[in-house]
Amino acid sequence: MIDSTVVELSRWQFAVTALYHYLFVPLTLGLSFFIAAVETVYVTTGKAIYREMAEFWAKLFVVNMALGIATGLTMEFEFGTNWSFYSGFVGDIFGAPLAIEGLMAFFMESTFVGLMIFGWKRLSKVQHLLVTYLVAFGTNLSALWILIANSFMQDPAGAKFNPVTMRMELDSFSSLIFSHDAQAKFVHTSIAGYVTAAIFVTGISAYYMYRNRHMAMARRSFRMAALFGVLATAGVITLGDALGFVGGQAQPSKLAAMEAMWQTEPAPAAFNVIAWPSQEQKRNLFEVQVPYVLTPLLTHTMTQEIPGVDWIEADAAKRIANGIPAVAALKVLSKDPTNADALAQFNSHQQDLGYGFLVKRYAPDQDVEKATPADIQKAAGDAVPNVFAMFWSFRVMVGLGLAMLAYFVLAVIFSVRNDVENRKWFLRLAPWMIPIPFIANEFGWLTAEIGRQPWTVYGLLPTWMSASSHSVGYMVFSLIGFVTLYTVFIVIEMTLMVKFIRKGPSSHGHGDHAPPRPALGGRAAAVAMMRKED
């Protein structure tokens, strides 16, 4: 039995490292395409200002991406170091998209980002543009594979338990990669990255315009990013709705918690705009409702019933009772994989194996067969995620999304009318919008991941079983290590970002004025060329 403190600390560590990593990913996803778009204008029009723009945003891109890469490294190994039972249990399925991500996407992104930064003078314009696009596609493909892996945890499609190897194994690769959750989530998440980049670019451009600096670049960047942003925000909201729809089908408990629905209501159910949910009392201490809205919102019908927390718990209790024989059979099979009786028993109960695991922590001696009805009831209560956290993290995300939509609509209107520069209040507001998409992204992650609790793999593997069997001391040590390092990192990163933004595009002394770098030449050639320029 692993210590519950170890599990809690492992969860904290994962949350800290993932949330931190996720501060850098969305901007990388969006900014890469923005730079590619700017460079496309440069290549097609030949105007040097667009090259300067591309190089300026690329500089900020690289500062941001360095931390994305660094913290991504942690994520990849953290499954093995801190979630070793999980890794062994589903690595056969979960590992594949991670490895494919490295092979197909990350190699591409990382190899070409080197050329994107260093290759200006060694590649033709078109070659360089191609390289920039490959970086953008690489980062986005990366996200696709990671989200396919994540979606397996949300909606474990295409997997089957093998009692001989005692783990989940891949049954259908196509169900894994074409799961609805994966598709909806990929588009929702990557477009959220475009929104992030659009706000980032408009915010910084507005800062320049407010101070009347770098106007040529700022004006152009603002206009392009505003257009980019309004389309992307509309996309995020539409896809968020689709994600809620497929997520609701796959994870009714997440949905019930997100909407703070304690009781199953006859359709069409009422929508809680705001509420103060209490997990102990299983009700909302306070709520403001709009009647009839929830059902069409979530199911896109008027008649489909949405299960509330009461239904989730009753269903979990039923499934736990059915899962207990599966766990018991598995224990026999681990010693004797050929035992026909145990195999038959396992096969007829295996669809509830995960629910059997759910009660293990409460059962005397961790023997599920000794579980009392009270134990089962307790475990069934676990099947509902933290309603308060879910309800509010979801609303923060959606609320910020709507605020960003309003911001971009204004930005586009002002841009089209060509009078952004005169709206001082808007220019002053814009830089303050920069943190908004980052916060929304983080709350989106929290909604997805808290909503999956108590499972690491929904319905299959409880979180409390998934952690490695470490001591509390190790976990405290590593958590302190990560928090310290990451705090130092973010201070450094923010300092550099702010410094570069303050300096502006003029900070890179070359652009069109620098001495051309000889293709293969040595120091002498460059020196000679510099002299000539002087």
Binding site: S334, P337, S469
Partner: protein, 377 residues
């Protein structure tokens, strides 16, 4: 069943190729990091060193990431057991590894000497420490690691942090560090020019000699180490888990494979040949040739470990019967088939565009141009 057997062996080879690719490519960059402060005497020289690998370190680092991902996908039980068992070591590895991207990207972005010095040290530590850990991990695999499983395949590690840094493991770590310094030195010899090149050459020669000595010492030491023998297990082509086999520890067992298949001696011989001829090539200032010979040395050294352990991957010193072998820790046939398909398409593609990237950026780094390039490291 035949297919599954073939796939298992294929992925054992792929794992080897990845570990070699990682050592050669990332190891080279780390060697440059380790040497940075010694071959670059002033800021400009250090920037030359960093820019020699500047366009490539990021791509090279993917070998490390892919190594982790491939172990997760193809050998999930190894991934789960080794990475949680070697916890503190893994943390050191991660903490030093995550400093590298920042070292490259941030070091030269501010003119302050204190700032740059601090990053130089960070790059030194994050070059040397991971390579020592890499070698030490292999040393531990050769000796076995104390771990066992529960009935549900939950793994427990029963050793300590200090026991992972035992003398033999440290020797392996130093060998790994030497080879990485050699590769970094050879790369700088070819691309840095100026005053850096002769210093890098000297460092590469020293590293080659150290590697030869360490590999020899390690070889002698290994012949006295106990090895593991699989006594009874399900057929290699069957799905299985580590609870279904019998294994024991035999004195001198790490040489058993070499005794039964004398042809295998060619593998350590390749390692020696790479190091010795590499030394000569460095003397003769043939940096490209020396690089390829260094790659050959790495292939020989890692191949030597693989051949000694086969079919074991991670033997258990406390419960030998629960050792992880190639047969019982590999993924299912379906996963291996899909992974093989992806690898068949993408590995050649990656090799192709990586080579293109090196070709585009070929030639000596231009010290003067760095001064005027805002993007240079």
């Amino acid at each position: 069943m035949e297919l599954y057997f073939g796939l298992k062996v294929l992925w054992w080879l792929v794992l080897g190729v990845l570990l070699m690719g990682l050592a050669i490519m990332v190891g080279m960059d780390m060697g440059v990091g380790t040497l940075l402060r010694f071959v670059g005497r002033d800021d400009n020289e250090r920037r030359v060193c960093l820019n020699a690998i500047g366009p490539h370190w990021d791509g090279n680092q993917v070998w490390f990431i892919l190594g982790g991902g491939a172990i997760f996908a193809a050998f999930p039980l190894i991934y789960a057991t080794a990475f949680s068992g070697l916890y503190v070591v893994m943390l050191l590895l991660l903490w030093t590894m995550i400093v590298r991207p920042l070292g490259f990207e941030y070091r030269s972005k501010l003119p302050s000497a204190t700032w740059r010095n601090a990053w130089d040290w960070a790059l030194l530590v994050s070059g040397a420490v991971p390579m020592i850990i890499y070698g030490a991990a292999m040393g531990n695999m050769l000796q076995g690691v104390p771990f066992h499983f529960d009935w549900d395949m939950r793994s427990y590690y029963t050793g300590s942090f200090v026991s992972l840094l035992n003398p033999f493991a440290v020797l392996c770590g130093l060998l790994s560090l030497s080879l990485s310094i050699y590769m970094g030195g050879v790369m700088l010899m070819g691309r840095a020019g100026g005053a850096v090149a002769p210093r890098a050459r000297k460092a590469a020669m020293g590293a080659a000699i150290a590697a030869i000595v360490l590999f020899t010492l390690g070889g002698i030491w290994v012949s006295f180490l106990p090895g593991f023998v699989l006594e009874h297990a399900p057929a290699p082509g069957l799905p299985q888990n580590p609870l279904q086999q019998q294994a024991s520890v035999v004195a001198g067992g790490l040489l058993a494979n070499y005794r039964s298949q004398p042809l295998l001696w060619a593998v350590p011989a390749l390692g020696y040949a790479g190091m010795l001829l590499g030394l000569l090539a460095v003397r003769g200032r043939r940096s490209t040739l020396a690089w390829w010979l260094g790659a050959g040395a790495w292939i020989g050294v890692i191949g030597t470990v693989g051949a000694a352990l086969f079919p074991f991957l991670m033997p258990s010193s406390s419960e030998p019967s629960q050792s992880l072998t190639l047969w019982n820790s590999v993924s299912s046939q379906t996963t291996l088939l899909w992974a093989t398909g992806f690898a068949a398409v993408f590995v050649p593609l990656v090799v192709w565009y990586t080579s293109w990237a090196f070709w585009v950026m070929r030639g000596e780094v231009d010290a003067a141009a760095i001064q005027h390039d805002e993007h240079a490291y």
